[in-house]
């Protein structure tokens, strides 16, 4: 009973549910939360899980596969190309220099070259989650520190691929490991055929991505069944992973490649948001398993050493980063944020360490120690940043604003446009004609295809999901325009934005007066009734055709629209009482009629007394008498 599936699931999930929010609360990030959960339910504290941790680990490694798919999705070739200078100058030099220094040191103290290589490459990577989160929290993404950190993290994401590719090779070079080859189903074929098959599989992914996967996703998207799209996304990842295992390559590498192929497709955001929870949970499971497998006996025996290693790793990494920042002329303040922010060892080290252990590159004891080092370095990051902010920065020069001109990096667009139907497209085209490029969200895949061909940046997805909005940059954007036709979707979107992005200004299209009132009640101040202006314009033209003077009609039209908007506010005030609403609605129509007929009878509107000489003439006559 104790080992039943349900019981296990409950243990894991409750540990995660308790520990992750706690860790987040104290500013440590979710990775450390999962680790903590693993430690608590692991053999050294409660002992809920023991041996089976290994099996769980195998299962959870699929989270890593998904993570790489998502990393691949993030790497749009065109974006990378735009940032190529920063990526090579800052990112590549960080990865290479840091690896080299650690490798040299480890090799020098007598660690074998295989182990040194595995450890040094792992230590070079930083934690994307921790760094980006802290930069975003402090609104530093667009500062020099933020942009350079981003470039480094991007390069590190790319570096993961060669690292994962090299590890099995060095393991093979150890030659004793023959199982590796037998694991692959194609190993019965001769060597040359194997090579062809491997290359064939890679080419297949690239070609299939364009000609099979994207059409398949379009097809699925047309059914408008969200769960089917999630299924399709999972199918893509699993399929690639399976293909890779068939030819004996790492599934992670294959899915990464698949991700890159799909990065330019219109389904990018949708895939990301659909797979994100799976990745998150599986990775969480992975980190729990890592936490559970930490050998505390060993660490407490070597506590001093572990801490010493952790501190020197932090020191060396930040020194290298600081040097690179200096060479690239980052100002000292920014450079400190940059160097200290990236100084920790990233969560990916857990993956490479356990991978290297499986391949017998690293022995168990070293792995344990370095996993502890990684965890400690991650724990220290928030403290280091706090130390930097409170004690270091105030003494090093004045706090500078980012004074470098923004370079080519894509900044988050300040405007998000949801819904690209006729109405939305008019708004979008008008904005683009005046140099404002909105991030566009739409959920009609055909239209998305078409618009993309025409050079618009349009993404496919359900706009009423917080994660999609988040990815589109709702956290940083200034304005969200909702040009959505469907009042229910509109309503949901507005409530969602009000709740999750209270600082985002909403400008919303309304189908009619009724919807406008509902939106006003959600405290949306900018509501646009979709046909009002066009209808009034038509009416104005009619008046002109009937012989009214054009300018007078123009003023009448303006007044009418203004009256209509004012009456909307009045209606919102009294809507609480249903009966009152109906009667005011009637009254409002009456008032509109009155207004119109008054204006018609009068010819000149109330505003135009200045040009109406009637009163003056009468006064003059009176004076003469």
């Amino acid at each position: 009973m104790e080992n039943g599936f349900l019981f296990q699931a409950i243990i894991y999930l409750s540990a995660a549910v308790v520990c992750v929010p706690l860790a987040k609360k104290v500013g440590m990030g979710s990775v450390l939360g999962y680790l903590l959960a693993g430690i608590i339910i692991g053999p050294y504290i409660f002992g809920f899980i023991g041996e089976e941790g290994e099996d769980i680990m195998h299962f959870a490694e699929f989270g890593v596969v998904m993570m790489l798919f998502l990393i691949g999705l993030e790497l749009e070739p065109s974006k990378l190309w735009k940032m190529r200078q920063m990526i090579t100058k800052v990112g590549l030099s960080q990865v290479l220099l840091t690896t080299l220094i650690f490798f040299g040191f480890l090799y020098f103290i007598g660690t074998g070259w295989r182990q040194s290589l595995a450890i040094s490459t792992s230590l070079a990577l930083s934690s994307t989650a921790i760094t980006l989160q802290s930069l975003k929290e402090k609104d530093q993404m667009n500062t020099a520190a933020g942009r350079n950190s981003f470039a480094v993290l991007l390069m590190q994401d790319i570096a993961v691929i060669p690292i994962l590719a090299i590890l099995p090779l060095i393991a093979l070079a150890a030659s004793s490991d023959v199982d590796m080859e037998q694991m692959s189903p194609i190993s019965q074929f001769p060597g040359w055929l194997q090579t062809i098959l491997v290359f064939g599989a890679v080419i297949l992914i690239v070609v299939a991505g364009r000609y099979v996967i994207i059409p398949m996703l379009s097809l699925v998207a047309k059914t408008r069944l969200r769960e089917l799209f999630v299924g399709g996304a999972l199918l893509v990842v699993l399929g690639i992973a399976f293909l890779m295992e068939m030819v004996g390559l790492s599934p992670a590498l294959g899915t990464f490649l698949g991700g890159v192929v799909l990065a330019n497709s219109q389904f990018k955001h949708e895939l990301e948001s659909d797979l994100e929870p799976f990745k998150g949970l599986l990775l969480g499971l992975f980190f729990i398993a890592v936490g559970a497998s930490i050998n505390f006996g060993l660490i407490s025996e070597n506590a001093l050493m572990v801490f010493a290693i952790a501190l020197s790793v932090l020191l060396i990494k930040s020194l290298v980063l600081f040097g690179i920042g200096k060479v690239n002329k980052i100002s000292t303040d920014q450079n400190l944020i940059f160097a200290l922010g990236l100084s920790q060892v990233g969560e990916f080290a857990f993956v490479t360490f356990s991978f290297a252990t499986e391949l017998h590159i690293m022995n168990a004891k070293t792995t344990e120690i370095f996993m502890a080092v990684t965890a400690i370095s991650m724990t220290f990051t928030p403290l280091l940043l706090l130390f930097n902010e409170r004690l270091l920065l105030p003494y090093i020069g004045t706090k500078e604003k980012d004074d470098k001109p923004h370079d080519e990096m894509d900044e988050t667009n300040k405007v998000i446009l949801a819904g690209f139907s006729n109405y939305g497209s008019t708004v979008g085209r008008f904005l683009r004609a005046n140099g404002i490029k909105a991030t566009i969200l739409d959920n009609d895949s055909d239209r998305v295809d078409l618009l993309r061909k025409m050079g618009f940046e349009v993404y496919y997805g359900d706009v009423t999901r917080v994660d999609l909005l988040e990815m589109a940059g709702a956290g940083e954007a200034k304005i969200l325009i909702s040009a959505i036709r469907n009042p229910e979707t509109n309503y949901r979107l507005v409530s969602l934005v009000k709740k999750h992005f209270p600082n985002l200004e909403l400008m919303v299209r309304a189908k009619d007066k009724k919807e406008a009132i509902e939106l006003k009640e959600l405290e949306v101040s900018h509501v646009y009734i979709q046909n009002l202006e066009s209808a009034v314009k038509l009416g104005k033209d009619v008046l002109v055709k009937l012989g009214f003077r054009a300018h007078t009609v123009h003023v009448l039209g303006q007044n009418f629209i203004k009256y209509d908007e004012d009456s909307l506010e009045e209606l919102v005030k009294v809507k609480h009482d249903k009966n009152a609403f109906i009667s005011t609605m009637k009254k409002s129509i009456e008032m509109q009629e009155n207004l119109l007929s008054f204006e018609l009878n009068k010819r000149f509107s109330i505003n135009d007394h200045a040009w109406d000489s009637e009163t003056q003439r009468k006064d003059q006559e009176k004076n003469k008498e």
């Binding site: 303006q558 007044n559 203004k562 505003n607 135009d608 007394h609 200045a610 040009w611 009163t615 006064d619």
Partner: protein
């Protein structure tokens, strides 16, 4: 403390140097209210009642604008047409502006001497402002000499800073001093503290 109302009309304030700087120098002052006409009424659809109410609450009214073809930009003229109504601003019952002060704060492109008998434009600035002066008289207001910043095309940063500071102290003077009659003797309000 008197209430000051600045009615600013500039169709392209984002490209303005002089008007924008003068405006910035007084934007945070107590009892100084600024109406950005082109921002408030981009469609020229002026809310007459609202304007009249603000006007009524002011003791000193300033028409602040660049000089285009020897006159204010069209929205300010439009504003005058609509807001200064018969039997409100003038005429037998038009008593609501009585006793208030009014003047123009103007920027012009040419050099200061361009507006003189011998200058490029042939007449002193004051003569071009006659319609505004007579408008003030008709509405029973006291028309003060203009505040004038000339040569806007080549104005130096330093000189602009000085003008902005002068304008600010003028506004403070107008707001806080009881007696403004001796300002009438001046040619330009720019010289208010040299008397």
């Amino acid at each position: 403390m008197k209430n000051i109302l600045v009615l600013m009309a500039h169709p392209k304030l984002e490209h303005s140097k002089v008007i924008a700087n003068l405006l910035a120098s007084i934007s945070d002052l107590e009892n100084v209210q600024i109406t950005d006409l082109y921002e408030r009424y981009p469609d020229f659809n002026i809310d007459v009642q609202r304007e009249q109410e603000t006007l009524f609450g002011a003791d000193i009214i300033i028409w602040m604008h660049p000089l285009y073809w020897y006159a204010a930009p069209p929205l300010l003229k439009h504003w005058m047409d609509l807001v200064l109504e018969y039997n409100w601003a003038y005429g037998h019952n038009g008593i609501y502006l009585k006793g208030k002060y009014l003047f123009n704060a103007i920027s012009t492109g040419g050099s200061p001497d361009a507006y003189s008998d011998k200058g490029h434009h042939g007449y002193p600035l004051k003569e071009f402002l006659l319609p505004y002066k007579q408008t003030a008289n008709l509405c029973n207001m006291t028309y003060l000499p203009p505040f004038h910043v000339a040569g806007t095309h080549n104005i130096s940063f330093h000189s602009l800073q000085k003008d902005a500071l002068d304008f600010k102290s003028l506004i403070l003077h107008l707001r806080d001093k009881k007696d403004l009659e001796n300002l009438l003797k001046l040619n330009f309000l720019n010289d208010f503290n040299q008397q």
